[in-house]
């Protein structure tokens, strides 16, 4: 349990905080007025909800009058209208945060998975880390099972057991941003941490670089092809098959570099070339690349031949856009058929997009209500898509294949590379439960999932040969009050 630092809190609390400027409360009131009720007496408009504070606690108005201390906040903002997605995101956030899932409109994870909830960035996976403060070792699975509490797996789907869980120890400092398997079967964790050489990074903060923590506790810095460090590495997005990787870096939520390279046998990204954004130390962005700003999702196609990037709009700019990068040619193109208000997207094998928008889930020509969806996972066949979020999981093809809506929030979902199952995590108290949905080819909506065990929260990263999954934990206590990334490897035995 982390305790408040009273001494530090008192010192910080003594730093000066200015009062509001003149007329602040009046502006708040006007900002919340319906446009038709504008004016200094709008707060008395019929039907309006008047916000009349009476000075309990808070700071002064800096000269405001009594009328300043009221606000009408029942209509649309007059002063600064928001894009619809912002309002929607706020609404979704409020709703889902109550369910124990925390959302932020940004993020991508890789392996064909993109999310608009939480992010596989510094913030870690899209949910809480269970029991991270309790002990140094990661929690063991609750047991192995071939048949979970959601019912038996469909005949012929095969059963899953977890045979071993290895590597459950805190590795080293840093904020986990991903995991990659090494050729020898060990797992590596990619972290952001301060670099030994120091330097200034984002917004004047100390420079944080991207490093790989190996199973033996050693670390290797991840470098661009020109030898420069990856500052503020945000996401590591391995392509299906594991040979290619995309790496993003960002500052205050804005992309500064998108790099594409390969994964070495030691699990370290290598040959990373900047394909969008700014070369390290450079002031001129990469030529013939889109000027990417706020990028909520980066995802590979199932065959690894295309990298799809969603960029959100900014103030006064047109809506979100979807860009496609071809690593073979180095060319960028804009997706002409991207749905409006797209938040996350993957490209399917037939070239159509599967996307989460403000209001909908769009898979090819199929449009469904968004219904809390915050993440997409593309199946190895390149056509089916798992859509997951606060209201469970849907497996969509050209029609609904499976809908599992009775399990509460689904935090992460990944297909095994061989297409034999979909792995996903749900909340289980302070921990998460790893579940598996075996995938026969002819699912008809009757499928059942099974529970493999519980652990702390982590990303799930199936191994390339589908023999297991990496569970990456961002924040296992090392016993000294510090939190170290850790990775577990869960090996499967599959029967039937």
């Amino acid at each position: 349990m982390i305790e408040r630092d009273d001494e530090l809190g008192q010192a910080l609390g003594e730093l000066p905080v200015p009062d509001h400027g003149p007329g602040f409360w009046d502006r708040v009131q006007r900002a919340g007025e319906p446009p038709s009720a504008a004016g200094p007496t709008a707060g008395s408009s019929p039907g309006a909800t008047r916000l009349d504070g009476h000075g309990h606690g808070g700071g002064g108005d800096g000269g405001g009058v009594e009328g300043d201390r009221s606000v009408v906040a029942s209509g649309s903002s007059r002063r600064r209208p928001y894009p619809r997605w912002v309002a929607l995101a706020a609404a979704v956030l409020v709703v889902v945060a109550g369910a124990g899932v925390v959302l932020r409109l940004a993020g991508d994870d890789g392996d064909g998975v993109v999310t608009v909830a939480g992010r596989g960035t510094e913030e870690g996976p899209p949910s809480r880390v269970g029991r991270a403060e309790d002990d140094a070792g990661a929690a063991a699975p609750s047991g192995t099972t071939g048949a979970g509490d959601e019912g038996e797996a469909p005949p012929g789907a095969g059963g899953f057991d977890v045979t071993t869980v290895t590597g459950a120890k805190p590795l080293g400092p840093g904020l986990a941003v991903g995991a990659l398997p090494a050729a020898d079967g060990t797992a590596t964790v990619l972290v952001r941490d301060l670099l030994p050489g120091g330097g200034t990074g984002c917004e004047g903060a100390p420079l944080e670089g991207l490093l790989v923590l190996h199973a033996d506790g050693t670390s290797t810095p991840v470098l661009a092809a020109d030898g420069s460090p990856i500052a503020n590495g945000a996401d590591v997005v391995p392509a299906p098959g594991g040979d290619r990787v995309a790496v993003t870096s960002e500052c205050e939520g804005f992309l500064t570099q998108l790099l594409v390279g390969r994964v070495g046998p030691d699990g370290v990204p290598t040959e990373l070339e900047v394909v969008a954004g700014y070369p390290t130390g450079g002031e001129t962005p990469v030529a013939d690349a889109p000027a990417l700003g706020e990028v909520p999702s980066v995802a590979w196609s199932a065959d690894g031949s295309r990298l799809l990037v969603v960029e959100l709009d900014g103030e006064g700019e047109p809506g979100p856009s979807v860009w496609s990068y071809d690593p073979a040619t180095g060319r960028w193109s804009q997706e002409p058929a991207a749905p409006d208000d797209v938040l996350a997207a993957v490209v399917r094998a037939d070239g159509s997009l599967a996307a989460i928008t403000e209001d909908d889930v769009v898979v090819g020509g199929q449009v469904q209500p968004r219904d809390g969806a915050t993440g997409l996972a593309l199946a190895p066949d390149g056509q089916r898509v798992a859509v997951f979020g606060s209201n469970g999981l849907r497996l969509l093809g050209d029609e609904v294949v499976v809908a599992l809506a009775d399990q509460g929030p689904v935090l992460d979902a990944r297909f095994l590379p061989d297409g034999g199952a979909l792995l996903y995590t749900t909340l289980a108290g302070d921990d998460v439960e790893l579940r598996v949905l075996p995938l026969p080819t002819d699912l008809n909506g009757e499928a059942g999932s099974t529970a493999l065990g519980t652990s702390r929260w982590g990303w799930i990263r199936p191994l390339p040969d589908s023999s297991g999954v990496l569970v990456t934990v961002d924040g296992a206590s090392d016993g000294d009050g510090y939190f170290r990334p850790a990775v577990e490897r869960w090996d499967f035995a599959r029967t039937g």
């Binding site: 408040r4 630092d5 009273d6 530090l8 809190g9 010192a11 910080l12 609390g13 003594e14 730093l15 000066p16 905080v17 200015p18 009062d19 509001h20 400027g21 602040f24 502006r27 708040v28 900002a31 909800t49 916000l51 009349d52 009476h54 000075g55 606690g57 808070g58 700071g59 009221s70 606000v71 906040a73 912002v86 309002a87 706020a90 956030l93 409020v94 945060a97 109550g98 925390v102 959302l103 932020r104 939480g118 913030e123 870690g124 880390v129 269970g130 991270a132 403060e133 904020l175 986990a176 984002c202 004047g204 903060a205 205050e252 804005f254 103030e315 961002d474 924040g475 009050g481 939190f483």
Partner: protein, 184 residues
């Protein structure tokens, strides 16, 4: 009689406009501190809080009481400040440095411990806005670890890492301040 936060929420949801005003004013000082330290100027603080309060009012109907009102408002303010930081980055004509300059000057306005406050403020300025927000939330506002995790949309480990890093930097500044206290 002073109404509780939840009573104010209930009253505001039922159409008592004054209740919401009372509610936000009750937490306004804490939220001003967060917004000011994240954004660096009074103008930016006011802009963000204006948006945050309107958002909070609109979201009131969805507030179910799973979180405390204070942490809920804190989370809304935090995210709104991040939005404003990002928007500011798209507008190079309004550099954030303006705010930092103004902020560094502010501690001089208070008597006693000026150098200490400057040192602490400088250390705080050396952190990213996200790190500042986490340490302020836990050590100043008194939010719990879980509240910060849920309201900021951060994994627990990330909260812990940010808090550790921020505290390390700030404790160095505090320690340096303590070292100078005995000097003539």
């Amino acid at each position: 009689m002073t109404r509780s936060d939840q009573e104010l929420v209930d009253a505001a949801s039922a159409g008592d406009g004054s209740a919401f005003g009372e509610l936000v004013r009750r937490h306004d000082r804490m939220l001003r501190a967060l917004a000011f330290q994240m954004l660096g100027s009074r103008e930016a603080m006011d802009d963000a809080l204006q948006d945050a309060y309107v958002k909070a009012h609109r979201a009131l109907a969805g507030f179910r009481g799973e979180a405390s009102v204070g942490s809920w408002l804190y989370g809304i303010t935090y995210r709104t400040c991040l939005d404003h930081l990002r928007a500011a980055r798209r507008r190079p004509t309004t550099p954030l440095d303006d705010g930092h300059q103004a902020r560094v000057a502010d501690p001089r306005d208070r008597p006693g411990g000026v150098e200490d406050r400057l040192r602490l403020q400088a250390a705080l300025d050396g952190l990213s806005a996200e790190h500042r927000a986490v340490v302020l939330a836990i050590d100043v506002a008194g939010l719990s670890y879980d509240e910060v995790s849920e309201q900021f949309g951060l994994a627990r480990g990330t909260v812990a890492s940010r808090l550790n890093r921020a505290r390390e930097a700030l404790r160095v500044a505090l320690s340096a301040a303590g070292d100078t206290k005995g000097r003539p």
